[in-house]
Symmetry: C2
Subunit: 471 residues, 2 copies
C-alpha cells in the first residue's frame, strides 16, 4: 500500500494568483472566477477578431490549456516561448476551462529562424524528431511517450512490490562474460596515468583498474539468482548493453530490461502464469492512469478505440510447445519468406506469423536444448528439451524469454562455459540449493507494442545504437 | 494513488497445507490449527529434550520463524539447508506462532566442510562477509539491508511521483565528457572484428562503434535539464560511475544517484525546501515500512531507540551561507586536524564538524564561484558567489549537492568547458528558456546514514571499487 505524502510543496503564487500545473486544472479543483497562475511553453497562437488564443503546455498533461488574451491588453507572445501567465478562470461553452489573461511574462523567446527545428502546425517524421534529442520533449507526442514510460515503470514496480518481490540493483559493471561475450562492451578508465599508477604484475595494463577484464552487463540474471537464494522473490529493472552492428527497429545498444527470479518455483506453467498475470495487470493499471497519453501517441480519437486495442487483456494467452509451433510453421511454410528450420529456432517473421495465427500473444515453451542457454533446466521427461519459454507478441515478436534454471550441480558443471569466472554460480547449487525460475522482458519492446510505435528508438529518451550516441 | 493488483498468484500448496511466506504468517492471517506449508533456509537448529527447534527464514522478513519437530517424527535437518515443511500452526505461550511439523523435505543440503563461509552462531566482520558476495543474502543482516534498500528506492519513487515528477531513464552511455572527465570510464566493444567492420575514415578505430569517444555517465543532470525543458518536473535514479583510485568508505566506482530537476524554479530557498521535504517524508515512510529491518541492521532492541535515532525528522534543518560556515570553522580551527582554507572548500572532517556543531543535518549555501561547476547560476547580489547548496549529514558528510542552473545564454557560453560537445546545452537557453534548479543525492550515502553502516560497500548488493569487481 502506498503511504500518502501529506505535505505538498506549492510553488510561489504570484500576487494573489494561485499556481496550478495544467494536469491539476479541472472543474473539480478550480472554479470559474478563480485567479490562477500557469507556466509553460506556447504550443500555438491564433488571432481571432483581434483576440489571441494561446495554447500552452507545461509537460504535465496530454492536452494543451487555452489562454485567451483580450486585444486591449496589448500582450503578445509567440510559438515556442516559455511564459508565466496570470488571469481568471472562465468555463467555455463546452464547460472546458480556459484562462482569461491579466498579465503575461515571456520568460524566454524561441527564435525559429536561429535553428529551432520544430515549426508550428507542422508534423515531422520520427527520424527527423530523433535528430534533435535535446528538444524532443517539446513535441507533445514525445512528452506523452515519456510520461507513459514513467507510468509503465511505476506499474511494473508496483505490481512486483505487491507480489512480494524485492528490487535488486544488479551491477552494470561485471566480470562475468559467460553470456553474449561476443556482444559485450569492455570498460576502462579514460585516464591512462591512473591506470599506470594502479598497475600490478601479471595484470595487463588495460585491466589494471579492476584487476580483471570488466564488461557492461548483458543480463542481471545470474546476479539475481544469487540474491534469490536467500531473498526468494527478486527482480531488477535497469540498463542492459549489447555491442551489435544492428539497424533493426527492435534493437538498441543500451536498453532497459525487467528481469525477475523466483525461488522455490519448479515448473514452467507457474512461470507462464507469472508472466501472463504481470503483463495483464500492469497494462490494465497503465491504461487506467495514462489513457490520454496512450491515445495521443497511438493517434486514437475515442476511448472505444483504446479498449479495442487491448482486447488481449481479458483472454488467456495460448501456450504451445516448440514442436507444435514448428508444426504450425511447416504447414504454412508457403506463406513465409524464410525456411522453417527447427534446429535454428524461430526468426522474427515466424514469430509474428505465430502471433497472427493465434490472434493473441502466445507462449512457445519446451525448446530444444541445443539452441538455448547452459543455465536452462533439462526437461525431466525429455532431456533433449529444456524448460524454457518465449512470449511472442504483436509488433515486436519476442517480448519475454525465461526458464526454470538448471538445479543439478553435476549437469550444470558439465555445461558451464567458463569455470573459473562462474565457480560462484555452481556454489548456489552446492549450499542450500533451491530450484528457481525467472525471465527477462525487453521494456522498450513492451512500450513499442503498447504504444504502437514502430521503432524502439522512439520510446527511450536517449537512444544509443551503432554509430549513434548523441549527448 | 497505487492501484491494487487484485489477483495474487499463490504458490502450489502441498496436500492440503496452505503455503505462506514468513512475513505473512501472523495472528491476523493464520490461526492455531491451520495446516501450513513454509519453505526457506535453516538458520539454527537446537535439540531440547529430544525435540528439534528449527529457525528458518525465506528472505521475506527480519525475524526467523520457528519449526518444532517432535523427536518421534524421526526428521532431521541441519543449518544452511533449504527445506520445505508442512505442519500445524500452534501459538506459543507468548502468543507467537510456530509450526509443529508433520513432514519436512530437505531441498538442498549445505555441507559446511566443503567451503560454506558462514558457520552457525558466529558473527563475522563486514569485510569477511563482503568476500562472499554471492552468499551474502543468506546472512540475515544483509537480507535486511537489501530489503531496506528496496523500500528506500520505493519511498523516493513514491514521493516524487506524488509530487508530480516524471522519472527519466537518463543514459549510462554518453558522449558528454564535460564533468569529471578525469574520472570517466571509457567504453568500446570487446570484439575487435566488430570494430574493424565498423571503421570509418577520420574516426579512430577504438571509437568506431559510436563514431566518437563514449563514456559511462558521471551524472544525468545535463540530460535531465533537457527533459525539464518540456516536462518541467523530472528525476532520474540509477547507476553512476567514477574511475577513482579511492579506498574511502564513502566512494564506489558504481553507485546510485537520485537526481532531480525542476523547471520554473528560481531560488535556492525553494530548492532547499524540496530537499528537506523529500528527505523527511521519504525517511518517515521508510521507517513506517521497514522498522524491523532497520532495527536489525542498526542492532537496536526497542522501538524507542529507533525513534531517538531519527529525531532530526521533526526539526527544521539549519541553513548557513558558505561564509558563515567558514566563520564557524575558523573559530574552531584548533579542534580540527585540517586547516580551514575558504578557497578550497570544505573537507570531510570539516563537514562532519559542522554537522556536530549544529547537532543536525545542515545546508551550506551560496558558495564561491571559483570552486563550483560552470552550470551554477551566478548570484544576483554577489557574482563572486553561485546559487549552490550542499546538504551535510552525520556519518557521511555531503549527502546532497544542488544549484539553480545558469540561465543566461551569454554567461553560460563564456563558462562552458567544451563548446563542440555541449552546443545542445546552450540551445536550452536559446529556445524557450526557463530557469531550472536541481540536485543529486548519493543513495548509498543515504542508506549508510540511515542504517548506521560504516562502509557504503555494505549497502549495495554488488560493490565495485578500485581493484574490485567480483561476479
Amino acid at each position: 500500500m502506498a503511504l500518502l505524502f501529506s505535505r505538498v510543496l506549492l510553488r510561489n503564487s504570484s500576487r494573489g494568483y494561485h499556481f496550478y500545473r495544467i494536469k491539476d486544472l479541472s472543474t473539480h479543483t478550480c472554479k470559474p472566477g478563480n485567479k490562477v497562475n500557469v507556466k509553460g511553453w506556447v504550443k500555438s497562437v491564433r488571432n481571432m477578431k483581434g483576440n489571441l488564443f494561446v495554447d500552452i503546455n507545461d509537460g504535465s498533461a496530454a492536452s494543451n490549456f487555452q489562454l485567451v488574451i483580450n486585444k486591449e491588453k496589448n500582450i503578445d507572445t509567440a510559438y515556442g516561448s516559455s511564459i508565466d501567465a496570470c488571469g481568471v478562470i472562465v468555463a467555455s461553452p463546452k464547460n472546458k476551462l480556459e484562462l482569461h489573461v491579466d498579465t503575461l511574462k515571456e520568460l524566454g523567446k524561441c527564435p525559429l529562424t536561429e535553428g529551432y527545428p520544430f515549426y508550428p502546425k507542422k508534423s515531422y517524421p520520427p527520424e527527423y524528431i530523433r535528430n534533435h534529442l535535446h528538444l524532443r520533449p517539446r513535441v507533445n507526442s514525445m512528452a506523452s511517450t515519456f510520461r507513459v514510460r514513467h507510468e509503465a515503470t511505476r506499474a511494473f514496480n508496483e505490481y512486483l512490490q505487491q507480489s512480494g518481490f524485492v528490487q535488486i540493483h544488479t551491477p552494470v559493471l561485471t566480470s562475468n562474460d559467460c553470456e553474449g561475450a561476443g556482444e559485450s562492451f569492455v570498460v576502462k578508465p579514460l585516464n591512462d596515468q591512473l591506470l599506470t599508477s594502479m598497475a600490478k604484475e601479471n595484470v595487463p595494463l588495460e585491466h589494471a583498474y579492476f584487476d580483471r577484464p570488466t564488461f557492461l552487463t548483458v543480463s542481471g540474471q545470474l546476479h539475481l539468482e544469487a540474491m534469490s537464494h536467500g531473498l526468494d522473490k527478486v527482480y531488477t529493472f535497469g540498463p542492459t548493453f549489447r555491442a551489435e552492428n544492428c539497424k533493426s527497429n527492435i534493437h538498441l545498444s543500451e536498453f532497459y530490461m525487467l528481469e525477475l527470479e523466483e525461488a522455490f518455483m519448479g515448473t514452467l506453467e507457474e512461470l507462464m502464469d507469472r508472466v501472463e498475470d504481470m503483463l495483464k495487470m500492469v497494462t490494465k493499471s497503465l491504461i487506467a492512469r495514462s489513457a490520454s497519453d496512450i491515445s495521443l501517441v497511438r493517434k486514437l480519437t475515442t476511448d472505444n478505440k483504446l479498449e479495442s486495442s487491448f482486447e488481449w487483456i481479458d483472454k488467456p494467452f495460448p501456450r504451445m510447445t516448440y514442436a507444435e509451433a514448428m508444426d504450425v510453421l511447416k504447414v504454412n511454410e508457403s506463406k513465409l519468406k524464410s525456411p522453417v528450420r527447427p534446429e535454428e529456432g524461430i526468426n522474427k517473421e515466424q514469430e509474428l506469423f505465430l502471433v497472427e495465427h493465434c490472434q493473441s500473444p502466445v507462449f512457445v515453451c519446451y525448446w530444444p536444448r541445443e539452441i538455448k542457454s547452459f543455465y536452462m533446466r533439462e526437461n525431466e521427461q525429455n532431456p533433449q528439451l529444456v524448460d524454457a519459454l518465449d512470449l511472442l507478441v504483436p509488433h515486436v515478436g519476442e517480448l519475454v524469454g525465461g526458464s526454470v534454471r538448471e538445479d543439478s550441480y553435476d549437469r550444470l558443471q558439465r555445461k558451464l562455459p567458463n569455470m573459473a569466472v562462474l565457480q560462484w554460480y555452481l556454489d548456489l547449487r552446492k549450499f542450500g540449493s533451491v530450484t528457481t525460475a525467472g525471465f527477462g522482458l525487453g521494456f522498450e519492446r513492451y512500450l513499442s507494442w503498447v504504444l504502437n510505435v514502430h521503432n524502439i528508438k522512439d520510446v527511450i529518451p536517449f537512444p544509443r545504437w551503432a554509430h549513434n550516441c548523441v549527448m
